[in-house]
Amino acid sequence: MLFNSIDFAFFLPIVFILYWFVTNRNLKAQNLLLLIASYFFYGWWDWRCLLLLIIISTSNYFVGKWIDRNDLNNKKKIWFTAGLVINIGILGIFKYYNFFVDSFVNLISLFGYNLSKASANIVLPLGISFYTFLSLSYLIDIYKKNLDADRNIIEVLLTLSFFPIILAGPIQRPSSLLPQIAKKRVFIYDQAVDGLRQILWGLFTKIVIADKLALHVDDIFHNVSAYSGSTLLIGIIFYSLQIYADFSGYSNIAIGIGKIFGFNLMQNFAYPYFSRDITEFWKRWHISLTTWFRDYIFLPISFNVSWIVKNDRVIFIKTEMFIYIVASIITWFLTGLWHGANFTFIIWGMIHGFFLIIYQWQKSPRKKLFKKFGITNKNPIVIIIETLITLIIVMIAWVFFRSSSIHQANLFIAGIFSSSLFSFPQVLPKKVILITILFILAEWLQRNKQYALQVENVKYRIVRWGIYYGIIVLIFLSLGDSQQSFIYSKF
């Protein structure tokens, strides 16, 4: 079931009514209801994948218990390893099997051996990357004793399959969600209204902005060689906005739903395109994933490498920098791979890794240079230039993310930097551009809020409601176009 479908428009009020009016006096019943609703929500798409979700979450519950129970002996490590193998193994089979087999066969063929490809017709379960990461956090946190495994099974299963976040996050750590599930929720009017407002904004960004842009993006990316450089540039600007509107829209809806059920889910986006450097961008984009990789991959690798390397320098590089480079390369390789079984995603990840390393490397010389020329960090021209450079890096990386192959991405970039960049674009949808500019303006004006439609401080109800109705009308007007699934739910 998708958030932007009619089915969901019926599903949500029914669950809401049962949750607050029927099961409100009994926490266990409320949690059970949410679990059933979550399974129904997920199974609506494919019941076979629901079975997989149930198997994964149940096995994680028991593995977690066994890790906890064997805290004082060697078996703890064995159970933990078994848990990691189960989760990563399932993710590997369902998401990466064909990719690895095909890559291996291609690699072998370079040495003159021809193996027949054994690609399998495997259905990719929606949101598998998200819920396996939830499960991994659950086990790691238990292993590190940050989380108590002695819990009610319903609470754990609900944590690992909570319907607002199951398809595309935010990857709400069990250490933060479990306590909320275990505690009685109280209905708070302001929180619920804020939740509805956030859902409305999420639907707007998805349906009115992302889906409209998608029509042009799909066309441009399918016909790269037919379009001029200027049109390709429009295409990548559109895609950058589309993926942001799509994914932040999903996150806003998920967080909003959480709010109306009395939960506080973590913010996943904080106006990332207004970042002035690549590090800041990653502090504002897909925050739940970035912090996941930081805590479970980047920091442990840095820590382990720092234990191994005892010298001040490694191959003329300061040890501190060397550790950063090693940890970044591995983290960003995995981040790319997490997004999809294609070399384009790996390259996308490595581009970001590369520029993060560059950024880290230039920090000190930049500081000295600024000091020498008396430039302050708050200089508006510097801010604008740095923001634009960050945007260009991010957009070039998006070309790889969106392209179906590296060849297509190269063609796209070569096309942009051709002489036709200065011709008049072949695609210039005025209405879409106008509404997108208004969207960016709203985001800029409200950049200090959690989301752009947080207008509860507007004094007059008529103005507030006028804004809401205006957005609803725009959503209805855009519903006629073909309904698109959320980009990140495919990961």
Partner: protein, 335 residues
């Protein structure tokens, strides 16, 4: 909680009213079922109506002969075609406005999936429409054909309804007072034809006027019949690998069903000849003997009276003439 529910209800009132008006007025006739789909209210989606009529009558009439194509295919009526078919044949006109090859394929697949026998089929191909890229006419089709979900289908029509304030106003005003007002002219009183409730034939109501006084009738739109070049032009190649695959899928069903299929390339006023390479593809898929090309310069296209006053569609009598020539001669001689 009470305050929350109260606020939600008050907030939703305008939306509920809007949805209520849409369901009550049903301007596109997609909410309720109708015995007869008249088109004097607004221009309905013929693709949708075709499937509705098919589903409604199929059990009683066991359709086994079908006409596929765009609005131009309406020149071929089941009533006329039936004359050339065996007595056990039951014909149905399964067309859609601006029909594409995708739409034709989906309809054939749908009929096949319903377990119907397809004894005979006419596919009417338009030089300028059937293989046109970005032809999204299937979006307006029945959700069983377009592949959309039930909700996506209705959202599309609802969105069209609320995007047109005059249509909303017309819907309420006309429903309540049954009076035609000048501002309604885009939606009411089009009255350009009816759809046969059984075989879905399009019955245009201008034919009587043309027969009565064709000179007078055509004089009003004489500027549409521009002067054409004496040299025959050929259309560019249109059938790509995707289209070719669709044609093969159609033929696969026809072969499975042992269908006697006729592919008619319709006559157009612009006298542009259907592309030779495209023609060869059609011939290789369906067999040369089953392709009847009426495009280009020929007796039919030379005569302006073969066409309706819009110069875009050919008349029913033209369709009758084509059918007659096809069933008289195994291969077209109209070169």
């Amino acid at each position: 909680m009470k305050l929350f529910i109260k606020t939600i209800i008050i907030f939703c009132i305008p939306v509920i009213i809007l949805v209520g008006v849409y369901v009550w007025g049903d301007p596109f006739k997609v909410i309720h079922s109708y015995d007869i789909y008249l088109s004097d209210y607004i221009m309905l989606s013929r693709g949708y109506v075709s499937t509705k009529v098919f589903l409604k009558n199929n059990k009683d009439y066991h359709y086994n002969s079908f006409i596929f194509g765009s609005s131009r295919s309406t020149a071929f009526t089941c009533k006329e075609w039936q004359k050339y078919l065996a007595t056990d044949c039951s014909a149905f006109s399964y067309g859609a406005w601006n029909e594409s090859i995708e739409g034709i394929l989906r309809k054939i697949q749908f009929i096949d999936s319903m377990g119907n026998i397809i004894k005979n089929a006419i596919i009417v191909i338009d030089t300028d429409m059937t293989f046109k890229k970005n032809n999204n006419s299937i979006d307006n089709d029945h959700y069983l054909i377009s592949g959309k979900t039930f909700s996506q289908f209705h959202l599309k029509y609802f969105s069209e309804f609320i995007s047109n304030f005059r249509l909303m106003r017309t819907c309420v005003d006309y429903k309540l007072f049954k009076t035609r007002r000048s501002y309604m002219k885009d939606f009411i009183g089009m009255n350009i034809g009816d759809l046969d409730p059984i075989n879905n034939d399009w019955l245009p109501n201008n034919e009587d006027k043309i027969i009565k006084d064709s000179v007078e009738y055509y004089s009003k739109s004489i500027n549409k019949f521009y002067k054409r070049s004496k040299t025959e032009m050929e259309s560019g190649t249109q059938i790509n690998s995707d289209d070719s695959l669709k044609l093969q899928k159609i033929n696969l069903i026809f072969r499975k069903q042992k269908t006697h299929a006729i592919i008619i390339i319709g006559p157009l006023y612009d006298q542009v000849r259907f592309n030779k390479k495209d023609l060869q593809i059609l011939q290789s898929v369906f067999g040369t003997e089953n392709i009847f090309d009426f495009s280009g310069i020929n007796d039919i296209t030379e005569n302006m009276y073969s066409f309706s006053s819009d110069a875009i569609h050919y008349r029913g009598r033209t369709g009758n003439r084509i059918l007659k020539s096809i069933y008289k001669l195994p291969q077209s001689t109209m070169k």
